[in-house]
Amino acid sequence: MRKLLSSYEGIVGSAVLGQLRQLGEKLAGASIVHVNSTREGGGVAEILDWMVPLMNDAGLSASWEVIHGEPRFFEITKAFHNGLQGHTVPLTMKDWKIYEDVNEKNFERLRPALEEANFVVIHDPQPAGLLKLCDRRKGKWIWRAHIDISRPFRPVWKGLRPFVEKYDASIFSMAEFAQLLPHPQFLVPPSIDPLSEKNRELEPSEIEAVRTEFGLDPSRPLIVQVSRFDRFKDPVGVIAAYRLVRKVAPVQLVLAGGGATDDPEGKAVLEDVQEAAGNDPDIHVLLLPSGAHRTINALQRLADVIVQKSTREGFGLTVTEGMWKGKPVVGGDTGGIRLQVVNHHTGFLVNTPEGAAHRIRYFLHNRNRIDEMGSIAREVVRENFLLTRHLRDYLTLMLVMAKDPRERLLKV
């Protein structure tokens, strides 16, 4: 179903939508082409899935193109992805040649759209090589980095930098994730869609069905962490925190994640988690299929306290999702969690299992604070981390790029 701005009026209010329409009017008819590497699966595809129709609804002419490549190309770009996040990855000259060749082939297919567009937004490294090939481009080209590239594996960044530094601008989610580049670097945090399966309101019967399905006791408090089984998400640390709480309160723990089976590292972490959980019937380790959005949604709504005890994190959209459901979050003091979790207001930042246990106990003893902080958390998300703010940032960025990106005040 085509998404429309008006669908969000009941959530963000007419003033916010009016602002988006007015910004859209200033850009009426401008063409914008988004390019990424997949139409399904992953955070970028999820963003473009709503952003393109909403940009069109705001009066622009937006389209979404996807580059194609052989499996080897995607292995190489997966290595880029890991290398940019600091992992040591082996890349050969031949790999870089394959990267350029695939970009060239895709460019021939996409040439008319890319040459004519007023704005081209290239998402992540996979299609970044397209700019170099587009000599007759008319519009502004922007590179959008969705990951933290602040501490990359140097050979990967050294190889990629010549492709991205020629862009007219780049976008990062947070200042902490950026690299110094010779063009304006804008900061646009990610967002969630409040009407998506992951975040929409659910019928109480559906939530209760999920409780029954996983054998959760409605009379006892529930702690939930949703994240893939990854060492940086510290699921074993969450179990340690649970055990500290369990000494004094009859809590239950759900660790829900997915996609670990085809990832050797994920599989090993899952085994560690299962071993740490042992035979405790109150620890529920749930390996969910990738499309289990409504189940995740229901689990977050069933939670008394949401935990995201990461030791390293990107933006942490599972925190945003939990906060949107009116839950306070006990989160790791790292990455984008810091931007969302504010001590004593929307949750607590912690550094250790002991710290997490302490804060969970605080909530269990002060149930009113769960509701108070949960309510603030929801408003923080409404104001800052819903897709309407994300769309506003993009519209603003296009207006700025069309004029002068270094001006302090632009009247349009």
Binding site: Q185, T334, Q340, H345, D393, K411
Partner: protein, 218 residues
Amino acid sequence: MKPFEVMDCALLTRMSGIPPAINLRELRDRLAVCGENVLFHHYCETTLRTTFDNPDYRNDFAVWAKLYLGDRVLAERLGILDPYSFPSMEELRAATLEVIDERLSELVMVPWARPGDEFFFMESTMVVFDTGARITNPNRLGPFIRKMTNSSVYYHFLEARRRTPDGKDDFSAWLGKCGEPYRPHADALSTIDYYFNSLGYLRREIARVLAYVKGASK
């Protein structure tokens, strides 16, 4: 009387290009040479940025001093600086440097942050646009403000203080031109402690103050 033209704005933040500071000395040295827009962003535009709107301190320097340098004394001294009370950004810069220099002289070691907790210098562009809405009756200003976006309130009530030659907010300036009956309204707006609150609070407070004066003058 010219109607009040309701404007709105959207803020786009960007990296300033200044390397991040890892300790108080670096913060001081970079603050001494950064552009005025960087200073303005970290002192004044924090309310409009994507962030929790009720932090301990309104300016980023105080927040960083508290959270990442662990220096609460410095945080308190920086946190009380009201950027709108300085005639110019240069004077605000001088006051900020004075606070930091004084603190550096009191300490035997320069406070530092852990890697990853550096201070990132940012600036922004504000895109301003006409909403098309016009207010002709001064008595309608308060009710209208209740429905305004936070960014509109920011533009007219806070940003105006830097934009206009006399440093006045747009609401007071317009009410001042509406004749003697509306002078108390303009005067009442000057009693609002506007720097230390969120924009949502400020919007409600402006509307409340105007409603109160209107009621009192009946």
